[in-house]
């Protein structure tokens, strides 16, 4: 069994795999036949590398993984059950906390779904501001990723730079919405408030800083030969298998699939008005995922600069009744969130709250490929792969 052979879909590897099948992956071959028993190691749920409470039970032969089983649910909050007992505005507060690093982006698909069922369209200025804030969330999330992937691979310093640069963007989001995390700023029909005075100039300055820091990361981390040695050819996801598992976002684009919901899905927000590019990388390894997110951060900064120039005047809230009752119907809205594709399937029966909401979160599918991906890798590579997939526990567990 080599890493280029795809297994039967859905069939997990047998734990009685002959470990000598992976010998070819080692740089140094041991010619002495050492017959030792396997070791079962628990990585997590408290571990610095698992980004939260993820538990990976791995069966090891020395330092090589024979089988890995992710155990999730330590942060399961039962969101889908909760949404059946809440009104739409109350649900916006809940879903902020699914992917807490880019919380504004979580609200957008749900609000779009409710607006679609109510046949309400948010005014253009609200659409532009929503897009600006979504892209700012994307930049904030990715700046953190650029820093902390270096940290997971061993370089302590990029993490500090990532957090420092992220602060600039969070200050912007706080200036508009009042909250750094969990802004809860979307309303059905538009936004809660307009932009504060001086925001556009500040935002322009911050985007220049973001572009500069992207250059710094490219030089310091992506250009570092040790980083490249640790991430190239590690955790290659073949494009068809990734799509079958539902891997989305930058992870799939790093495997060469030219697909971005902002451009290729059902049109939403104002992406069609902007001049921007989708970045892909043919390799599909961890380095490709790092590189694609780096380019997407730059692209998002450029998009924000364009939008600041094109911002229309006008109201930020459409005419909406005081008590929101969404007519009967079903709708599925999915958007390109920083972590991948996030979707809400909303079933409404005309009440003030939905009948059923299915939350499709990106990290759930991204992590489901781990049993396949982690076979035959070394322990340090597990950490690199987890860091490269970039999931958030709230997004997996909901």
């Amino acid at each position: 069994m080599t890493t280029t052979d795809l297994p039967e879909p859905g069939k997990l590897p047998d734990v009685d795999v002959d470990p000598s099948a992976f010998r070819h992956l080692a740089d140094a071959q041991v010619n002495v036949e050492l017959d030792t028993g396997d070791m079962v190691l628990n990585i997590g749920p408290q571990h610095p590398a698992t980004h939260g409470t993820l538990r990976l039970v791995v069966r090891l032969d020395g330092e090589r993984v024979i089988a890995a089983d992710p155990i999730i649910g330590y942060m399961h909050r039962g969101y889908e059950k909760l949404t059946e007992f809440r009104t739409y505005p109350q649900i916006t507060t809940l879903i902020n906390r699914i992917d807490w690093l880019s919380s504004f982006a979580n609200e957008v698909p749900f609000i779009s779904a409710a607006e679609s069922l109510m046949s309400i369209e948010a005014p253009p200025r609200a659409q532009y501001i929503r897009t600006i804030l979504t892209e700012l969330s994307r930049i904030a999330t990715f700046l953190l990723f650029l820093g902390e992937m270096g940290l997971q691979v061993g370089a302590i310093t990029p993490a500090f730079y990532g957090f420092r640069d992220r602060e600039y963007v969070l200050n912007l989001i706080e200036a508009v919405t009042g909250g750094r995390f969990h802004p809860n700023f979307n309303r059905i029909g538009g936004l809660k408030d307009d932009l504060p005075w001086g925001f556009i100039a500040d935002c322009r300055g911050t985007m220049q800083k973001v572009l500069a820091s992207c250059d710094e990361f490219e030089d310091l981390v992506a250009g570092n030969p040790i980083f490249q040695a640790r991430t190239r050819s590690i955790g290659i996801i073949p494009a068809e298998l990734g799509a079958a598992y539902g891997v989305s976002g930058s992870n799939l684009r790093a495997s060469g699939v030219d697909w971005d919901l902002r451009r290729d899905g059902v049109p939403y927000l104002v992406y069609n008005d902007l001049d921007w590019k989708v970045w892909t990388h043919p390799d599909g390894d961890s380095f490709a995922r790092y590189w694609v997110r780096l380019q997407e951060t730059r692209e998002s900064a450029r998009m924000v600069l364009q939008m600041l120039d094109m911002l229309p005047a006008g109201p930020i809230m459409a005419k909406v009744p005081r008590i929101i009752k969404v007519p009967e119907g079903e709708v599925f809205v999915n958007t390109e969130n920083p972590l991948g594709e996030m979707g809400y399937y909303v079933i409404s029966k005309g009440a003030t709250g939905p009948f059923r909401v299915k939350i499709r979160s990106a990290s759930f599918s991204n992590v489901s490929i781990l049993p396949w991906l982690l076979r035959g890798v070394y322990i340090p590579d597990i950490i690199t792969i987890l860091a490269g997939l970039y999931f958030i526990l709230g997004d997996i567990d909901r």
């Binding site: 080692a26 740089d27 140094a28 070791m39 190691l41 571990h47 610095p48 590398a49 330092e63 270096g150 940290l151 997971q152 691979v153 061993g154 370089a155 302590i156 310093t157 500090f160 730079y161 420092r164 570092n224 040790i226 980083f227 040695a229 640790r230 070394y378 322990i379 340090p380 590579d381 597990i382 950490i383």
Partner: protein
């Protein structure tokens, strides 16, 4: 007859004084190195300030306070741990640090015990720490500690060879293994007839210096070679079950050994305590200061690499040692030998 103080004190008293000096210097150097580089230099490189409050002036008291804090912590041992081995492991690691300081000269007559095989002795005792690390990894009865201990054993043994071979070039050129003799050789040497700065061996042994720095980095399990202590994987590797004063011993061992290796590098390659224009009694006062400066320079290089680079994977690490460093070191020895005979 004591050479420095010109007093006649007995053999036992001399031994006691020497023991006290070594025991005091090691934690002191660990403290200084830890504060200057780990707390301050790392912070400034990461665009933050580091400790500022403790002690008033830029937090100089931080590590002392940390040390006292460690000393008063509860002595916790895992239930399944091998009690005696668990307790002895930090002692073994620190012991090797103390023993290295015994031969390092700080002045023409300021050395705890001058040995004719100084270089050989220093490198030999520094490898005792491997045993301590393995003891810690096994006795902790923790799979992460075991992984860390095994990685450490493989790494430390692999990088002993480049370390030793790098120094052989120096020994060949200086013609002696005695550290005093090597310093003297550099102090009285001449560069094309000019004796202004003596003849620091780094000028001809630059390959050896580079190898020594890389191998020392690996011996100290510092990034980019910190697989045994990989923070994002094994948390603290073989040290993960250690708390309180036992962890303090490991910490002192790590930074004390860093100082020791930096001092060795300074002595072997940069001329140690010697400056060519100062001789005699004045050198006894100036020597330690000069050595300290050179040590700080070398340590700066080591810690700078520590904070910048990600870590190598274990197999990449081994490949570097066996496939690259050892052949280069052998080549360096051959070249040195040929050139020594030719010139």
């Amino acid at each position: 007859m004591n050479p420095v103080l010109a007093l006649d004190i007995g053999w036992g008293t001399t031994l006691a004084i020497k023991a006290v000096i070594v025991l005091a210097i090691v934690p002191l150097t660990a403290l200084i190195l830890g504060y200057v580089f780990l707390l301050k230099m790392m912070s400034h490189m990461q665009s933050r300030l580091g400790p500022m409050d403790p002690g008033g002036f830029h937090g100089w008291y931080q590590l002392l306070g940390d040390g006292i804090k460690f000393l008063q912590k509860e002595d916790i041992m895992p239930a399944e741990a091998d009690r005696r081995v668990f307790a002895l492991a930090p002692a073994v690691v620190v012991l090797s640090t103390f023993l290295v300081f015994v031969v390092i000269p700080a002045g023409p007559r300021l050395v705890v015990q001058p040995l004719d095989v100084g270089v050989f002795y220093a490198l030999a005792v520094s490898s005792l720490s491997v045993i301590g690390v393995l003891m810690a990894g096994w006795a902790s009865s923790n799979k992460y500690a075991l992984l860390g201990g095994l990685r450490a054993a493989a790494q430390l043994i692999a990088y002993e060879l480049p370390l030793v071979l790098a120094v052989v070039g120096v020994v060949v050129q200086a013609g002696t293994m005695n550290l005093e003799g090597i310093v003297h050789f550099q102090q009285t040497g001449e560069l094309f007839g000019w004796s202004g700065i003596g003849f620091p061996l780094i000028l001809t042994q630059f390959i050896g210096f580079a190898l020594f720095m890389v191998a020392a980095q690996a011996e100290l399990t510092q990034p980019p070679f910190d697989m045994p202590v990989a923070e994002s994987e094994l948390v603290a590797g073989y040290m993960v079950e250690y708390t309180g004063f036992r962890f303090l011993f490991f910490f002192i061992g790590e930074f004390g050994t860093a100082f020791a290796f930096a001092a060795l590098a300074a002595t072997l390659f940069l001329g140690g305590w010697a400056t060519p224009w100062v001789h005699g009694t004045a050198a006894d006062w100036l020597g330690p200061l000069v050595l300290f400066t050179k040590v700080m320079l070398v340590a700066f290089l080591m810690f700078w690499a520590r904070f910048t680079y990600p870590r190598f994977r274990e197999d990449q690490l081994q490949a570097i040692a066996w496939k690259w460093l050892i052949p280069i070191a052998l080549f360096n020895i051959m070249l040195t030998g040929v050139l020594k005979v030719a010139f």
